[in-house]
Amino acid sequence: MPSEVTTRPAPKEARDVRVLVLTGYGLNCEAETAAGFSRAGATVDLVHLSEILDRGARADALAGYHILAFIGGFSFGDHIQSGRVFANRLRFRLGEALCRFVDDGGLALGVCNGFQTLVCLGLLPGVSRARGTPLAAQQAALVHNDRLGYFDTWVKLAVDTESPCVWTRGIGPTIEMPSRHGEGKLLFLDDSLRDEILASRLVPVRYADASGAPTEVWPDNPNGSPDGVAGLCDPTGRIFGLMPHPDAYLYPENHPDWIRQHDAGALPAAGLGLRIFENGVRAALAG
């Protein structure tokens, strides 16, 4: 939903879609995120956040980009709380530009530390912020996994096909990808907010068991997130964040069972995580 104040040209083909991948301060998934968007056809800029902040607190600091990528990693070591220091820096110094970007219909993807950052910024689930207003207060939090500590495992995600999320369109009923984090259990401010989010289908992905049903049971749900919530989108469906890593499933051989899939004639031509990136580029093209 582009507005008349938009400062970026409407893309005609995938390569016109410009993606800004913010890097630095201990983030570390820039190469795979860039590869994901590049393979989806977009034009990717990897830019250290300090360069963006150097443009000053101008509201158009993000002008020209269709997609903002908040990547995984350990911004500021996850010290204090995952995503906290990085998100505060954005809130204090880039808040206006982020609001403008969102209001202009910009797309955003946050993975892992990026998802934590979007939640700290109040951009996800993003139900309480009105157009043209500053960043909202935080409404949800990603807390320590029930079993303390970083845990690495492939998870199956049940995809809500009724969600407004543009990033998960046409994917499902399930998708697998790696999950690796220590703070991924999603809690809402209160029950009424949780109910609102669930009713509005703003939970595009949930941890699922082998049968594809959402689960709270470890290790299919690696953090104990209630209702299996693995990610959130905003009401427009254009801002999406999740704990697991679609960026680490760009190649069919990333999947732990790729040889079995090959033998069964079921090896996909590309890693299925790529479809998330393709959806983002497609949504940017659709405007």
């Binding site: 890097t23 630095g24 301060y25 201990g26 570390n28 998934c29 190469a31 795979e32 590869a35 393979r39 250290h48 300090s50 150097d54 350990f74 500021f76 070591g77 996850d78 010290h79 204090i80 709380q81 906290r84 220091v85 505060n88 820096r89 204090f92 110094r93 207060a137 935080q138 949800a140 939090a141 807390v143 320590h144 996994n145 029930d146 079993r147 303390l148 500590g149 970083y150 690495d152 495992t153 492939w154 790696p178 690796r180 809690l187 809402f188 401010l189 104990g224 890593h245 960026d247 680490a248 499933y249 760009l250 190649y251 051989e253 990333n254 732990p256 069972d257 790729w258 040889i259 033998d263």
Partner: protein
């Protein structure tokens, strides 16, 4: 400046995972059962801010959804039900990475720079335990007095505002140390008391040098010489001439030392063989840079080389397992990064040799329980590796109670180096006189002073606490990101790590290239004031590199560093004066001739004599009796539960396997991802299909019988592992990491001559294997003092060699795992099985000393491996796995658990006349367990029959989705074991770390 105390905890309804974990550990380790625990974060802000600003900061950093926070103290529970409160925080001067981030957060919240520091701590509010129990929990689980301090409070309490400010107001001056006229005894005492680790002959050489210069040395000069000449840095034992008496009683002089005679010679012989065979064609030499830099470099693609280095960090890990191991991994990251002009870090590896985690005996005072060391070492490398954004690709644990004194902590890093950077070959530095010396990254404190010399002596009660460093991976990651940009823009001419010996080593080494250096220590940024010049010179404070920056690039280099919030300081200039000149402002601390510093070390001829202790072996009758008492199935299941056989995924799952998105065969494979992969495979660059393959071999137990056989077995297993995964046989390289007990005869080491002979034998074996397999050694490390004497008890590690093999694939999509693929496939064993159970897992399971260490015939095996690799190339191999610890039985179990398919096999053709248990558990080297399609059987057999191929049986469908192994011999079924029974034994009970 007022100090503000911030306390933050989760709201009551929000779970406290740290508290839950703490309660579990206290229960499991100490049998303590607290009724409840809550934890709190404490930040003591010693910053120039007002109370109103402190409130603003608190609002910015506490989570509004899940946390409650207070300036001062939060309420400590209900007045009628008070907890005991334990607060753990750092000692003065210990790296506090969280504190650094909190300060950044404060500055961001207030929009201005702040002076001062933030000190962090953790509070444990414990209900249901008395003060004494909480004190015990602190002492045995939650607190390490070398780096941390504690406080135990009972409400009501006043918020403690004491901060561990470090440093002193006055700076000690450089002092002259008089050597003239000192007796040997006095020299020896001086060396010991200053922890110089210099021998009397080395002190003599030093004294003579300064006498010739007409003066006495300064303390800084002595320290600089001590670091540079330390065993750790100079590898004196590895380079010493040795008079060696072999097992036959013949004595000869190994004039050039074992390093040149065996390690370098192996690589040079492989290089020559490659050149004469023309194997490299137009691609350029396979060996790009070996032994000359921080890591080894081999050719990979037209676009990038592969860099590999494995280090050990044993002594620090004994004192502070978490910090010591963390600095092991982030330190080796700097080695691989600092190779040539800089390489991009790709994958980490780790391996730990530890005391048995269930160790229940009493330990000499001063040693930590093995389970605590294990836990701490894992957590250190988990945090260090994960936070650096580097996936781990190999990991192992090996247990023996001889590792309770000094654990062996191996950490390694693979990197990808662009072939060229700004038009220059990246593997060469080009530092020239006039280039500025820039220190970048972390600041210097007293942490890590004497690390190099400390690791060159045994561990004992007087080991220095300041030798312990704690890493700060995020500071390092920010530095690497900035340096990679600087490299790509051609902003520097040379780089090296500040590791052992600190600036004295890094500047001293780089000065060799230009011919001299001059630095001013007063310019070096410090963590706190009060360091003596010599301390600044040798501190091993972490996260620092030394960079050579040409004068015309200085401005751009510093501008970039400032934008990336990385501290960089010009501290001097490279010269061609032939001297290392160190000033502290106007004061001259050090003026050393480089030729003496690097070449003045006196050589000492060492004596090695093969004189193994007498050993009583179990008789054949005793062995048969022990085996007859146990059914085969029972033996197999018991074997899977042995500490050195178990899955190990309990800890491993907490390491990142996936970051970078390039992994193809990960550290664990199988339907339930719980079987350790034979070898791992990873893409190197996005969008390309070439891959790197990693495997290793380590067999310290074999050293008890013959270190020569041990070394051969290690190299053989490393090679076999990567070939099983599909690596090219013409592009293999290896690293050697020797960890030895002190091999110099002395009053405390009466068997030093034999230990040195074991080193010679191991080197002979390694040389033989490397030449036969075409396996060049491209880098390595030797650690020669892995002994601990505590309370009069000496514990020495067994002679241990880790051979880490790095291989290559043209196309990762052709990688194999150990997992059989379909019912109907044929199961083969390639290679002879003989009665080789000496120091095997079977011998430990039975508690018997058995004869017959595995013998490796590398020439014959090399031919076998070429045939195997060709069969794989021809598409005839469907899965492949090595036989290693626990022999065929363990390998078969791996296949069953990974595939959840059935295996029906016969032992009839395995070995000649071997008892079934020996056929199953022998650890004969050179063997591969593989599967092939039934229709390919004839073709495969035609190729591999000359290399001792045995058809074992067939793959069958599982039963209800569960695999099994059926073992037959002489027409009888000896055992039939389902995967559930195997897995129960194979798994450690809990996944929570």
């Amino acid at each position: 400046m007022p100090i503000y105390r911030l306390e933050i905890e989760n709201r009551p309804a929000v779970p406290d995972a740290l508290a839950t974990k703490t309660a579990q550990t206290l229960s499991a380790w100490l049998g303590l059962s607290p009724a409840r625990i809550r934890t709190r974060k404490v930040y003591l802000c010693d910053l120039d801010m007002s109370e109103a600003e402190a409130h603003k900061v608190l609002a910015a950093i506490a989570d509004p959804v899940i946390e409650v926070a207070a300036l001062g103290a939060l309420p400590d529970g209900e007045p009628g039900d008070p907890p005991v409160i334990l607060t753990v925080s750092f000692l003065p001067g210990v790296t506090d990475a969280v504190g650094k981030s909190v300060k950044t957060a404060c500055e961001d919240a207030l929009g201005r720079a702040l002076a001062g520091q933030v000190y962090t701590g953790t509070m444990y509010l414990v209900w249901g335990l008395g003060r004494a129990d909480v004190a015990r929990a602190a002492a045995e689980v939650l607190h390490n007095p070398l780096i941390q301090r504690i406080r135990i409070d009972e409400p009501p309490r006043r918020p403690d505002l004491g901060v561990p400010r470090a440093g002193a107001t006055s700076t000690p001056r450089t002092e002259i140390v008089a050597l003239r006229g000192l007796s040997d005894e006095a020299l020896e005492r001086l060396s010991r008391e200053r922890l110089l680790a210099l021998s009397v002959p080395e002190m003599h050489a030093t004294r003579a040098h300064f006498e010739a210069e007409g003066r006495e040395p300064t303390d800084a000069e002595l320290e600089c010489i001590a670091q540079t000449w330390s065993e750790h840095c100079k590898h004196k034992i590895f380079n010493a001439p040795i008079d060696y008496t072999d097992p036959e009683g013949n004595t000869r002089r190994i004039e050039r030392g074992v390093f040149k005679t065996y390690v370098v010679a192996a690589t040079e012989d492989v290089r020559k063989a490659r050149a004469s065979s023309g194997i490299d064609g137009d691609a350029g030499d396979f060996l790009v840079s070996v032994f000359s830099d921080n890591a080894g470099v081999v050719r990979f693609t037209d676009e990038c080389h592969l860099v590999y280095k494995v280090e050990t960090h044993n002594s620090p890990s004994a004192l502070d397992p978490y910090g010591g191991a963390m600095t092991g991994i982030v330190g080796v990251n700097r080695d691989s990064f600092g190779c040539g002009l800089g390489a991009d870090l790709l994958a980490n590896v780790w391996g730990y040799c530890l005391g048995k985690p269930n160790h229940t005996g009493t330990l000499p005072k001063g040693l930590m329980p093995p389970r605590r060391i294990r836990d701490g070492v894992h957590h250190g490398v988990i945090d260090g590796g994960n936070q650096s954004g580097i996936p781990y690709m190999r990991g192992f644990e090996l247990f023996d109670d001889r590792f309770t004194g000094k654990p062996l902590v191996y950490c390694g890093t693979v990197a990808a180096m662009p072939v060229t950077t700004s038009g220059r070959p990246t593997h060469e530095k080009f530092t020239a006189p006039g280039d500025r010396i820039v220190m970048i990254g972390g600041r210097v404190g007293k942490d890590g002073i004497h690390g190099a010399t400390f690791s060159s002596v045994e561990l004992n009660e007087s080991s220095p606490v300041q030798a312990v460093q704690i890493g700060d991976p995020i500071t390092q990651k920010m530095m690497f990101d900035m340096l990679a940009e600087a490299r790509d823009r051609g902003l520097y001419s040379g780089i090296t790590d500040n590791g052992a010996g600190g600036l004295s080593s890094s500047v001293g080494e780089m000065a060799e290239a230009s011919g001299g250096a001059e630095i001013d220590l007063a310019r070096v940024p410090l963590k706190y004031p009060g360091l003596a010049p010599w301390e600044i010179l040798v501190s091993e404070a972490q996260e620092r590199m030394t960079v050579a920056v040409p004068p015309d690039k200085l401005e751009a280099f510093f501008a970039l560093a400032a934008r990336r919030e990385v501290e960089a300081t010009e501290i001097g200039t490279f010269t061609n004066s032939g001297r290392l000149v160190v000033r502290y402002g106007e004061e001259k601390a050090c003026d050393l001739q480089l030729a003496f510093l690097h070449g003045g070390l006196p050589k000492v001829v060492r004596t090695a004599r093969w004189s193994p202790p007498a050993r009583a072996y179990a008789t054949a009758v005793e062995r048969d009796k022990a085996l007859a008492a146990r059914p085969i199935g029972d033996l197999v299941v018991s074997m899977l539960a042995q500490p050195n056989i178990r899955s190990g995924d309990r800890y491993a799952r907490h390491y990142d396997h996936e970051v970078k998105g390039l992994a193809v065969v990960k550290p664990f494979v199988g339907v339930f991802r719980d079987v350790p992969a034979t070898a791992t495979v990873m893409r190197v660059r996005h969008g390309r299909d070439e891959g790197v393959v990693l495997g290793e071999g380590i067999h310290p137990h074999y050293s008890d019988l013959d270190a020569y056989a041990m070394a051969l077995a290690c190299a053989d297993e490393g090679v076999r592992r990567i070939l099983c995964a599909g690596a090219r046989i013409d592009r293999m390289a290896a690293l050697d990491n020797f960890c030895w007990p002190d091999p110099i005869k002395s009053a405390t080491t009466p068997d030093g001559e034999h230990k040195l002979a074991q080193l010679v034998r191991a080197c002979e074996g390694l040389y033989e294997a490397c030449v036969a397999y075409g396996l060049p050694l491209i880098s390595g490390k030797d650690s020669m003092k892995n002994d601990a004497t505590m309370g009069g008890v000496k514990i020495s590690v067994p002679p241990t060699l880790l051979v880490s093999v790095i291989g290559q694939m043209k196309d990762v999509r052709r990688a194999l795992t150990l997992s059989p693929r379909a019912p109907g496939d044929v199961v083969y064993l390639l290679g002879e099985t003989e009665d080789m159970c000496g120091e095997s897992e079977l011998s430990r399971l039975l508690g018997l000393s058995l004869e017959g260490v595995p013998r490796t015939d590398p020439k014959r095996f090399a031919a076998r491996y070429h045939a195997f690799a060709a069969a794989h190339e021809a598409g005839l191999v469907r899965s492949a796995h090595v036989l290693s610890r626990g022999g065929l039985a363990v390998a078969l179990s791996h296949l069953v658990m990974a595939s959840e398919l059935g295996l029906s096999i016969s032992l009839d053709a395995v070995g000649q006349g071997l008892a079934p248990a020996i056929a199953l558990f022998s650890e004969s080297t050179g063997r591969i367990l593989l599967t092939a399609r039934a229709e390919d059987a004839a073709a495969l057999e035609a190729r591999l029959a000359p290399h001792a191929l045995v058809r074992l049986g067939a793959v069958e469908p599982g039963v209800s989705g569960r695999g099994y192994v059926r073992i037959r011999h002489g027409g009888q079924t000896l055992a039939e074991l389902g995967s559930d029974a195997l897995r129960r034994a194979f798994q450690e009970e809990s996944h929570a770390v």
